[in-house]
């Protein structure tokens, strides 16, 4: 497995895809923090913590990063090159998933530095109670987990769908159309969807329609494992063109 992981990490470092997504992440975080502090005027602990909890917006970016990375293997036929060395496609997919998970953590860490560097000085000038160590810890932990798990889930979705355009469009439609509609129709059911769970893990508070942090992590892990099992089964029966 370590060979697969190292090979995938090398592949990640040697194209501009990761850099492109990281750049998109920086823009998103800047927008998120600046709008949240300058326009949103956060006063409460929850509001202030939400400014630094960048896992929620970033999770979508890293999820797409995983989807694009996994589907690129089919798009450019590099999946065959790997399978000629490691015939177990499930092993390749698991290795890829962990590599993207690590990359997601890395991207999340960089974005947290950006968010804290900009957000802390801005929040210091705001009235109301100050954030404590546990608030910072929760913002950091939730954001990192959301980024890591989001990227892993993205790889599983990408392996399952294989077609890059269909996978990206399908993911976006699910996150921004289907997920909110289902949540609106049935909040008790909708909070278990991976989009909602990612938001909860990302640290955007624990409203009545959100899972708590721990259960949200468990739900994301379950979604990731389920997607990988199904993707592995489908992929092992799929002919590689």
């Amino acid at each position: 497995m370590s060979r697969v992981l190292r090979s995938e990490l090398l592949k990640l470092r040697t194209t501009r895809t990761a850099l492109g997504f990281a750049a998109a992440g920086v823009l998103l975080v800047l927008l998120f923090v600046l709008l949240g502090t300058l326009v949103g005027n956060p006063m409460s602990i929850a509001d202030k913590r939400a400014i630094l909890s960048i896992g929620d917006p970033l999770a979508v970016v890293v999820l797409l990063f995983g989807v694009v990375g996994a589907t690129a293997e089919y798009r450019h036929h590099t999946v065959a090159a790997g399978a000629l060395i490691v015939p177990s496609r499930l092993r390749l997919s698991i290795g890829r998933m962990f590599a993207y998970g690590l990359a997601g953590l890395g991207v999340g860490a960089i974005m947290l530095v950006v968010a804290f560097a900009i957000g802390l000085p801005l929040l210091a000038g705001k009235s109301g109670p100050s954030l404590t160590g546990s608030d910072y810890l929760r913002a950091v932990g939730g954001s990192l987990l959301a980024c890591g798990l989001g990227a892993m889930l993205g790889v599983a979705v990408g392996v399952l769908v294989a077609n890059q355009v269909a996978a990206v469009v399908g993911t976006l439609v699910f996150l921004f159309v289907a997920d909110p509609l289902i949540v609106a129709a049935s909040a008790n059911f909708g909070k278990f969807l991976f989009g909602s769970a990612l938001m909860a893990v990302g640290g955007r508070g624990n409203g009545m329609h959100r899972l708590a942090f721990g259960p949200a992590v468990a739900v994301i892990l379950a979604w990731t494992a389920a997607a990988l099992v199904i993707a592995g089964w489908v992929d092992s029966r799929r002919d590689i063109a």
Binding site: R3, L10, K11, H76, H77, A80, G82, I85, V86, A241
Partner: protein, 302 residues
Amino acid sequence: MPGDTSAIRVVGLSKRYGGVAAVDDLSFEVRAGAVTGFLGPNGAGKTTTLRILLGLARPTAGEAMIFGQPFAALTDPGRTVGASLEISGFHPGRSGRNHLRSLAVLAGLPASRVEDVLKLVEMTKAGNRRAGKYSMGMRQRLALAATLLGDPKVLVLDEPANGLDPQGIRWLRDFLRAMAADGRTVLISSHVLSEVAQTVDDVIVIHHGRLVDEGPVDRLSGPQRVSVRSPRVADLAAVITRAGAQVKRDQSDVLLVSGLDAAQVGDLAFSAGLPLHELATQTASLEEVFLELTTDEPGAPA
């Protein structure tokens, strides 16, 4: 062929896509240490067969084995088989060197091996360029470099001459000869016999997914005929026919004789007192035989 001399064995292989049979009950063997041409026109089922052989596609029926095992069961496939199936099997934004490095890491090979194979395919200087910027010939060379990373005993190459210019084809020919001289087993597919005719020891010819011929390349070169020119062609035809041979009049004063060699035809003409202006042995070219094997009769199902 005895089993222990086969590097590759395909038995009763079939692959159907809906109602279409891409490969239909195909069986053949590839001798270890030989260069074998896997020939057939476009759409004959060559690539599908190779993909099944390499575990990239599932057969509808039958089996394909390398050294007696399915590809997926090989202990170290990366060091046993080197295969090139797709010319675009690399990310266009990644350099050729990094593409090979990622495969070397996956196979547990040292980084120095990447430089070795880049040198072998004469791509050392171009290795840092992005693969998307490579010419067709450079992509083929990069694909060949990838096949050689694990120093494999078996090479499976799908249409490696596609898109190559004459210099590239010559380079490929020399390359394959060097691989064969190393004792490797090479299975090379092509839809153009002339590209591989000078390199291969054996040929396997398929058409519509079925085997139409296999064996040493020399055997494929067809029966010999004698071409004989004489000013008394009608008398000569009668003499030859009486000797039991078949005669076909090619031009007004030329006969094509089957069933006798040139010396026998000459002796017959001399005995009958008939003058000869030309006497030559003709062999049907490989290309002619190949076309004959793989060309549909008018009205035959495609």
